[in-house]
Symmetry: C4
Amino acid sequence: MDHEKEVAGGLSTVRIQGLSDGVFAFAMTLLILDIKVPQIAAAMVSSQLAHLLVALWPKILSYVTSFLILGVGWVGQHTAFHYIKRSDRILLWLNILYLMGVAFVPFSTSLLGTYPDERIAIFFFGTNLVLIAVLLYAIWTYATWHHRLVDHHLEPIVIKLLKQRIASAVVIYFVIIGISFFSTNASRILFLLGPLSYVRPSRLDRYFH
Amino acid sequence: MDHEKEVAGGLSTVRIQGLSDGVFAFAMTLLILDIKVPQIAAAMVSSQLAHLLVALWPKILSYVTSFLILGVGWVGQHTAFHYIKRSDRILLWLNILYLMGVAFVPFSTSLLGTYPDERIAIFFFGTNLVLIAVLLYAIWTYATWHHRLVDHHLEPIVIKLLKQRIASAVVIYFVIIGISFFSTNASRILFLLGPLSYVRPSRLDRYFH
Amino acid sequence: MDHEKEVAGGLSTVRIQGLSDGVFAFAMTLLILDIKVPQIAAAMVSSQLAHLLVALWPKILSYVTSFLILGVGWVGQHTAFHYIKRSDRILLWLNILYLMGVAFVPFSTSLLGTYPDERIAIFFFGTNLVLIAVLLYAIWTYATWHHRLVDHHLEPIVIKLLKQRIASAVVIYFVIIGISFFSTNASRILFLLGPLSYVRPSRLDRYFH
Amino acid sequence: MDHEKEVAGGLSTVRIQGLSDGVFAFAMTLLILDIKVPQIAAAMVSSQLAHLLVALWPKILSYVTSFLILGVGWVGQHTAFHYIKRSDRILLWLNILYLMGVAFVPFSTSLLGTYPDERIAIFFFGTNLVLIAVLLYAIWTYATWHHRLVDHHLEPIVIKLLKQRIASAVVIYFVIIGISFFSTNASRILFLLGPLSYVRPSRLDRYFH
């Protein structure tokens, strides 16, 4: 069996990554369209502008939250495709489904920004995030199954660590949704803090090469 | 005749693919702008939000349908450019026309999402898809004619299989348009199911290398 | 003098091209936002939709025109950067100014689509195109001056042919603006036909390698 | 210690740059959405269009200013990543925060374009720019600390010159914000002129290779 061919053959992943970077970049930038410049009658601008800008804070927090969450998604997918060396039709489609979830985030964010105290808005937003995480889990599991689309020499520990990391995101988002039954405020704060736990370096990083 | 030069010469296809990924990513992400957060008076939010979110289902289905259809287009163009090794002015322009059809999909989708029971909306949407498929057929036929822009060694079977696959999309979209004369519901369901037939691996995939 | 270093040194042009493909892709896709789905009262949809879709033709023509014109710009910049092998600060900025003109096209297009019979709208649209062409001319002239940023071996005929081609665009756009003093209809048709003259292969293409 | 591995190992920076180009391209192109085609009753178009287009000048100036400022940011980040050869989790996140600031610019621009004479709008806009510059400073400092993510042989003078250049932007933006306490007009003119000082070649450019 020709190992080199096995790894390097098939469709490359360059365009998967190009399309993904595009979708992430637009989804991130689209978020800003949800923050609108307050329209004020000329006579009242001086007295009201500062007040109305402060009133935008929930929207800005929502922007920051979703940007960070999309950041987590991008870093996760980036890490996965660092190891995935070729693609096939199934992988292309799993990734398109994944991007469908990513491109949906601006809507979920806008919903949560508009109705921050509604449990159903948190449920909708959280479900969107769960779907994204589940699809990334599917991508990674599919690609690493018997080293299908990754390098033959990839250490099993890397496969396992990344799998755990993605799975933990699914669990975390489920827990945050559950917490909304007690306090929608707590849920929203946790959606913001959640990404932070992914920023710190992890054991996985030692295997980046 | 210098074969190496014949294949590697000419303009590269890197930027065609970069521009295409950008247009696809943007068209896909733009689709979400058609789903608007329902605006509800504060006193009625709790009682109405769930109801109005359910009422968004046709729009969400329309989003999923178009995302999958753009996915089919992207996978198809990706596959074609996996084999196309250089470009010339005609190819650049065929691809620009192709992208003009792709960037039109958010409008057709919005039209169909707004008037899902109108035969003319289905006709408009379907014609958009036919045009895209015909242009991809033109790209592939032009590029592979006497191995003009593909590798000299590319097996004729690959050329033929991809040609058939693209042609079948043209036929399928025509049939779905025709079915709308009997049932617009059936047409819309078929537009959603159509992409699924492209997800399963095909004989073509065996030749990816 | 170290020729290899002279050519390969300096900042690469990969990211210039990445940024440019992004701006072109978004500007092209943004054009579709100017075509709005007609909003019709439920009782009158069947009788009016077809009529109102036909009434969108000027907007659609405007979309096609601007897409083709941005296509000409993209092909032109693509051709130039096929030969430009490294960059410097001046080139980066000339290209940013060029992209500023490109990103302005959706506005000019919308203006012309809204007021197709106003000479001032044609003047505005045409001036936008002249600016883009002049900036591409500046990019090419700057980069090829004493082979500053192109390969040492690049034939002078290639430099001259591309320069003439870009200059001819400037002249053509000026002439079309001038014609608007006699007939705004004629100007709009010529803006649509103009790009077609760039689609046919040219003497320049023989030098692609 | 394996020097080659130290430099080439780790996550590549290709996708950081791809995502960044996408966000910059989209943020730049979004700016145009803030300039709206004036809507005029049919009978008054001829008499009013020219007048209303001239009235768009503040918006157009705002577009040019922000495009140039994003250009400065892009050139700066481009220069930094010309030398940064690998990435780690911290760098990925610093860059995501940086992009969060970049994607915020269309909002700040729109705010300043709507209320050009309000000190608070200038303060908001200026703070956005300061944040971007500070984050780029953090990226560069983190990446070059003990040559962490740059080539072992990178001259210290390059590290120092780029650091000074970014720091000077922070200072300049602070000064412009301060000037708004005396004259908001002066601040706006300086925001436009500021980028120009970055266009001219600098001592740093001699080290591009």
